[in-house]
């Protein structure tokens, strides 16, 4: 027995507990190329490769499909079609039956999967897919939201949220206006494309290594396709090379193709998509048309407002219902509406089925109200910041959302004051106005926009998580939970929680791949919920083991539980201290279980979709950003000059990780609203299906002056994991400030009294046309 006297110098803290600034657990592995992604796993002997055969029409009846040349192509082992599916031909995340693994009689978008080739090499498989002879009977295709609205084509019924009497409030308001705003979709452009490696096991079971945010769903979908119970399928994911929502539901199809072939051929099969196939065949962020009507007073205070959202969902429902709902939940952003109606229509089009993307509809909803804020400011001749301020949520009764939830944790007024001062918004506003008078061709703009983002899955039952913790006899810990690692730093945050709980150094906690065999029935790592939920579940598991160790020690050392404390890497038992590993060994010898599951379900939340009321969110995450831009009035080109951000991560679990989410989220949002354009041609073909044509930001697009801060002394008011806040999605919406700043720069041409007609993304073309249209309106007004 190791007895330590009080005189021995012992560390006062562990290495790597919560709230520490720590590098990503895999940072060195990333930098040396040692981090393993699905395509890097050493291929088992005999591994084959799958490639999908895609539809070349947006909507057509399949008259004939001749795959004989495909089958005869060099290296081809098998060609799969719907006829080969023993189970259900569907990989819908909601069991809607509208996401066939392989299309049969009809194709509903250009790029829909009709068959899959299994061949000796990736190239042989891809090459063979092009040899298919398919006769199509073309049918009229609906490509846009307008096409769908005109023909009343929807994937799901419309939904309405309402509070008060907005029609009357708008009618009786001193000022009224109507407007329309369109915003584009977004390709995730995770650097690692969709990838699955299926390894056949005995009894026709299968193990699938899959790059997915949702191993449980992939498991269930693969089982459905195979016509087997869920327990026949195990899905594992160590890490993804980026997800951003694009691997929440979109991994199932490729996993199912690989699994189906693997089980059939009894050989391992890998399905890794080529970038172009990935961009053509997998879903993206929903583009929206937003119509609004608003009534307001002289100061710009909104008295009544009505929004009409139309979301392009593509050919199937996927998660569009929840996404369009979240857009409605964020149509208010941080603003109180006395009377409000939000109608949402979920348009069915013959385009790829749109899906989750960081923010999950929230950014689209927010962009709508931020357009309205500027519209009111221009009409009233006010600084847009003043209009935003006067409309912020406040004390009762100005604290009720359109879905009848009370905002209890609002910090936006103080947060905005802080960033308004730290960014010198008012002074810079004046300087910019002056600069614009002196420069005829280039113009500057500035905007401050807030973010209030609701945290919890709005589908209440998804707010549950599980974890599995083992302590081995040498005191080392094996950590597993249902969350997945896509780069966001979830694994290290949860490991910090477990290290903190046991009071052991972080390097004693082994981070392990997410695996459906270890923690079952998990929710997607999505909705920014990863660390909130899995952190709590892992803490619960660790606490169970701690409790057992405490009970064991109390009995063995004849002390009370109160006399036992977990100190850094050791345990104080009465008046002696025992190294953690020694106590663990003793507990094992004393036949104590050193393994536990942990479970968490988010408290307080409830929501009644029938009445569109309740408390769908446990809390809100807040932030604000100030962006300054410069535009070229002759070309429409623009650049971001300076960005200031103040973001609320509660009491951050790991400030380095959280700042990474803030900065990366902002730049990703900026790309969505500026250079990233999904361009479909008249035949419904996506023509921006590779990085050569689809332009995400590069290094030089980062502003010259970027000042980021996490809000300090700001613990979450709710009892979240160590009072932290979710941080994955909210910062993306800070980039709305960049879009509004471009609008501000254009508005300078009309002395800030007319709102430019600028849709998103603000490509040089849209900016130039907005300038021309504004100039035309000015001339018409003269």
């Amino acid at each position: 027995m190791n007895l330590h006297s009080a005189a021995t110098a012992e560390p006062t803290t562990i290495r790597g507990g919560v709230h520490n600034t720590l590098a990503h657990d895999s940072a060195a592995k990333h930098a040396t190329g040692a981090a393993i992604y699905v395509d890097d796993i050493p291929e088992p002997a005999g591994t084959l490769h799958a490639a999908p055969g895609l539809s070349a029409r947006a909507r057509a009846r399949i008259k004939n499909i001749d795959l004989s040349n495909v089958r005869a192509a060099p290296g081809v082992v098998l060609v799969l079609t719907a006829a080969d599916i023993p189970g259900t031909n569907d990989v819908s995340p909601i069991g809607a039956g509208d996401d066939p693994l392989f299309a049969t009689e009809e194709v509903e978008f250009h790029g829909q999967v009709l068959f899959a080739v299994i061949a000796e090499s990736h190239e042989a498989a891809r090459r063979a897919t092009r040899l298919a002879k398919i006769e199509y009977e073309e049918l009229p295709a609906l490509l846009t939201v307008d096409d769908a609205l005109r023909t009343q084509s929807f994937v799901l019924p419309e939904h309405v949220m309402k509070r008060g009497d907005p029609v009357s409030a708008i009618t009786h308001a001193p000022h009224r206006m109507k407007g329309q705003f369109r915003l584009g979709g977004q390709e995730h452009f995770y650097l690692e494309g969709q990838a699955s490696l299926a390894v056949p096991m005995e009894d026709g079971d299968v193990l699938v290594h899959c790059s997915t945010q949702h191993p449980s769903e992939v498991q269930h979908n693969v089982a459905h396709v195979l016509g087997r119970p869920n327990n026949a399928v195990t899905v594992e994911c160590r890490r993804m090379g980026g997800g951003f929502g694009g691997k929440e539901t979109q991994g199932s199809q490729w996993a199912a193709i690989a699994a189906l072939a693997a089980v059939k051929l009894k050989r391992p099969v890998k399905c890794r998509l080529d970038r172009d196939d990935d961009m053509i065949a997998t879903g993206k962020r929903h583009d929206f048309r937003i119509d609004y009507e608003v009534g307001y007073d002289d100061q710009g205070r909104i008295l009544g407002i009505s929004f009409d959202h139309a979301a392009r969902c593509g050919y199937s429902a996927d998660l569009s219902g929840a996404i369009a709902d979240r857009a409605m939940f964020h149509a208010d952003n941080g603003y109180f509406f006395e009377a409000v109606q939000i109608r949402s229509r979920r348009c069915k089009t013959n385009t790829v089925s749109n899906t989750a993307f960081r923010g999950f509809g929230g950014p689209q909803g927010m962009l709508g109200i931020e357009e309205v804020m500027d519209a009111i400011a221009r009409e009233r001749g006010l600084d847009p910041l003043d209009v935003r301020r006067i409309n912020l949520y406040g004390d009762a009764p100005r604290n009720v959302t359109p879905y009848h939830m009370q905002v209890e944790d609002n910090i936006l007024p103080e947060l905005i004051t802080q960033i308004e001062e730290s960014s010198a918004y008012r002074r810079r506003r004046q300087e910019i106005t002056q600069w614009n008078r002196q420069n005829a061709y280039l113009k500057k703009g500035i905007a401050l926009t807030p973010v209030k983002f609701g945290i919890s899955f709005t589908t209440t039952h998804l707010n549950q998580a599980g974890a599995l913790v083992h302590v081995y006899t040498d005191g080392s810990v094996h950590l597993n939970h249902g969350g997945t690692e896509m780069g966001q730093g979830l694994f290290i945050k949860v490991a910090q929680v477990v290290a903190e709980e046991f009071q052991i150094d972080l390097d004693q906690v082994k981070i392990t791949p997410t695996n459906t065999g270890k923690v079952p029935n998990t929710s997607a790592t999505a909705a920014s919920s990863g660390s909130d939920m899995n952190g709590m579940a892992a803490q619960a598991a660790a606490r169970k083991i701690k409790q057992r160790l405490t009970e064991f020690a109390a009995e063995k050392y004849k002390v009370t539980a109160e006399d036992i404390a977990f100190l850094p890497n050791r345990v104080r038992i009465g008046n002696q201290e025992v190294p953690f590993r020694d106590l663990v060994k003793q507990a094992y010898m004393g036949r104590v279980s050193l393994s536990a599951t942990g479970y968490y379900r988010t408290p307080k939340i409830h929501y009644d979709r029938e009445t569109a009321s309740g408390r769908p969110f446990l809390y809100f995450a807040y932030g604000a950003a100030v962006s300054e831009v410069m535009i070229d009035t002759l070309t429409g080109e623009h650049t971001l000059l300076r960005v200031d951000i103040l973001h609320d991560a509660g009491k951050s679990l790991n400030p380095a990780i959280d700042l990474g989410q803030v900065e990366g989220g902002f730049i990703q949002g900026m790309g969505w609203l500026t250079s990233e354009e999904l361009w479909f041609d008249e035949q419904g073909r996506l023509r921006t299906h590779a990085p050569s044509t689809y332009k995400i930001p590069t290094c030089s697009d980062r502003p010259a002056d970027f000042r980021m801060q996490l809000l300090e002394n700001n613990p979450n008011r709710e009892e979240t994991i160590h009072r932290s806040k979710a941080v994955g999605e909210p910062p993306l919406m800070l980039a709305i400030s960049a879009f509004r700043a471009i609008s501000d720069a254009i508005a300078s041409i009309a002395n800030y009294r007319i709102l430019p007609r600028l849709d998103a993304p603000a490509t040089p073309e849209r900016v130039l046309f907005a300038i021309e249209e504004l100039q035309a309106r000015m001339e018409a007004a003269e």
Binding site: A28, G33, F189, G242, Y441, T635, C699
Partner: protein, 494 residues
């Protein structure tokens, strides 16, 4: 070609010697690394040289030192490795596991999140590390423009680029340079590298005579220069090329000469190698070359290839045509020369016989009286394909237009001069009224198309506005007119 005149492709993988002879020449360096060598640290992100996840570094002797170049392994064929040291992310850490300073800086600055792009960034940073001095923000932006990261927003990676040289010590690659150079020089015996497999052959002629002879023998051969376009024929169009004739080792095509009339740029000269000369004469054109592609693309791609492939959106032809450049071609032992604009016949059609090859482009040297301005419009500033690119070369006599040549890319099936606009301006006074009048005839010169890069309406409008901008820049020198200049100036201070 006789067998005794050829030899295998030889290179160093890290410090180990490799010889390839029976490998399909359509094999990319990335495929070779991941499948043959099982080095899976290098990633495939796009397979078209646009994301940089596959970045590797090639080192080759230049005098008594090594020159390091980052390239996209996904579109480089294995033959291009000949005579070089191929370095991948697995080579950088020491055998004791000690990270290279560029790797350590990335870790310290929180420069990775998902980590998939990281090996590519590491290799771009490694190449940057080998340059003298500490890079400023603009140099960092240029060096990293070809590496896409979707997670970090780049700030932490740029910070690592600044921090990595803080220790200021030459790395172990610098210490080993003499041995590496000796090992590289020992690879070559003067014979012609040759590959043959799956019915596809590959030759890397060493002299222009050998090249001419090979093309006479194999008129259907694909002439390969930087591979930044041809690589995609294989990775995206899934074509199998053969025979392939690589001009990268033809001595005569790897020269730039300048006399009192012409800058002569050999067909195998990369954008990177042309940069200093072009910049000295035409700074605006150098900026176009910088924005034409990423560092990796500029390190491999050639001006000769940009011309020879005849793309309507190639960025080097418009300024070259505006300047009155000439193209030199060779077929067998016959040389001919023509005005560059006459080389582009129609979409995808150039004035070149199958067995004929581009020798050089001749660019007139700068003249004090002639002003050249170039403007590239694209959705993104760096590494984007042009929506519209205007090049304007103006010579004024007093206030009168003595000569003006305007050429646009992205506006027609080929890079094409705005002859009607030129005619409307030539001999006229260089004043706003005349420029406005000339804008009106732009639509007689161009009927652009609508595609994913821009609409026809925007292309025409912006072409007119670029003429206006050119006028403003020549008459209001104090006016601030260029976002790209403003942001580089702001970044210079950052």
């Amino acid at each position: 070609m006789k067998k005794d005149q050829t030899r295998p492709v030889r290179f160093l993988l890290g410090d180990e010697r490799r010889e390839l002879s029976a490998i399909d020449p359509n094999t990319t360096v990335l495929t070779y690394l991941r499948r043959v060598e099982r080095r899976v640290g290098t990633k495939e992100g796009c397979g078209e040289g646009d994301c940089g996840a596959c970045t590797v570094v090639l080192a080759e002797p230049e005098g008594d030192r090594l020159r390091y170049r980052a390239v996209n392994s996904c579109i480089q064929f294995v033959g291009a490795l000949d005579g070089k040291q191929l370095l991948t992310v697995e080579d950088l850490a020491g055998s004791d596991g000690m990270l290279h300073p560029c790797q350590q800086a990335l870790v310290d600055c929180h420069g990775s999140q998902c980590g998939f792009c990281t090996p590519g960034f590491v290799m771009s940073l490694f190449a940057l590390y080998q340059e003298a001095g500490t890079p400023n923000r603009n140099r960092i932006d240029d060096a990293l423009a070809g590496n896409l990261c979707r997670c970090t927003g780049y700030g932490p990676i740029a910070a690592a680029a600044k921090a990595m040289k803080a220790a200021g010590q030459p790395d172990r690659f610098a210490h080993r340079a003499p041995q590496t150079i000796a090992a590289l020089k020992a690879l070559d015996d003067g014979a012609m590298p040759h590959l043959e497999a799956n019915g596809h052959s590959y030759f890397a002629p060493r002299s222009v005579e050998q090249l001419a002879q090979l093309l006479t023998d194999h008129p259907s051969a694909t002439i390969l220069a930087g591979g930044t376009d041809v690589g995609l024929w294989v990775t995206k169009q899934l074509r199998q090329l053969g025979p392939i004739i690589w001009i990268g080792e033809v001595a005569e095509l790897n020269r730039i000469t300048v006399d009192d009339r012409w800058i002569e740029i050999g067909a195998a000269i990369t954008y990177t190698d042309a940069m200093a000369t072009v910049e000295a004469h035409y700074p605006d054109m150098a900026d176009i070359l910088r924005r034409l592609g990423s560092e990796q693309i500029r390190n491999a791609g050639t001006i000769g290839g940009n011309i020879a492939n005849g793309s309507p959106i190639g960025d080097s032809p418009p300024p070259l045509i505006a300047l009155g450049s000439r193209l030199v071609l060779r077929r067998g032992d016959r040389l001919r020369e023509l005005a560059l604009e006459d080389f582009f016949l129609d979409y995808g059609k150039q004035d070149r016989q199958p067995d004929e090859f581009v020798v050089a482009v001749k660019v007139p040297v700068a003249e004090p009286k002639r002003i050249l301005r170039c403007y590239k419009i694209s959705k993104r500033f760096d590494q984007d394909i042009t929506a519209s690119l205007g090049a304007f070369a103006l010579t004024l006599a007093d206030k009168e237009v003595e000569d003006i040549r305007i050429c646009f890319g992205g506006m027609a099936p080929v890079p094409r001069r705005a002859r009607q606009v030129e005619a409307a301006l030539k001999g006229k006074e260089w004043i706003r009224e005349n420029v406005e009048a000339a804008c009106w005839v732009m639509s007689e010169d161009y009927a652009p198309i609508t595609d994913m890069r821009a609409s026809a309406r925007y292309r025409l409008q912006v072409a007119q506005n670029l003429l206006r901008k050119f006028f403003i820049e020549t008459t209001e020198p104090a006016a601030r007119t260029r976002i790209v200049v403003e942001r580089r100036a702001a970044h210079e201070l950052a």
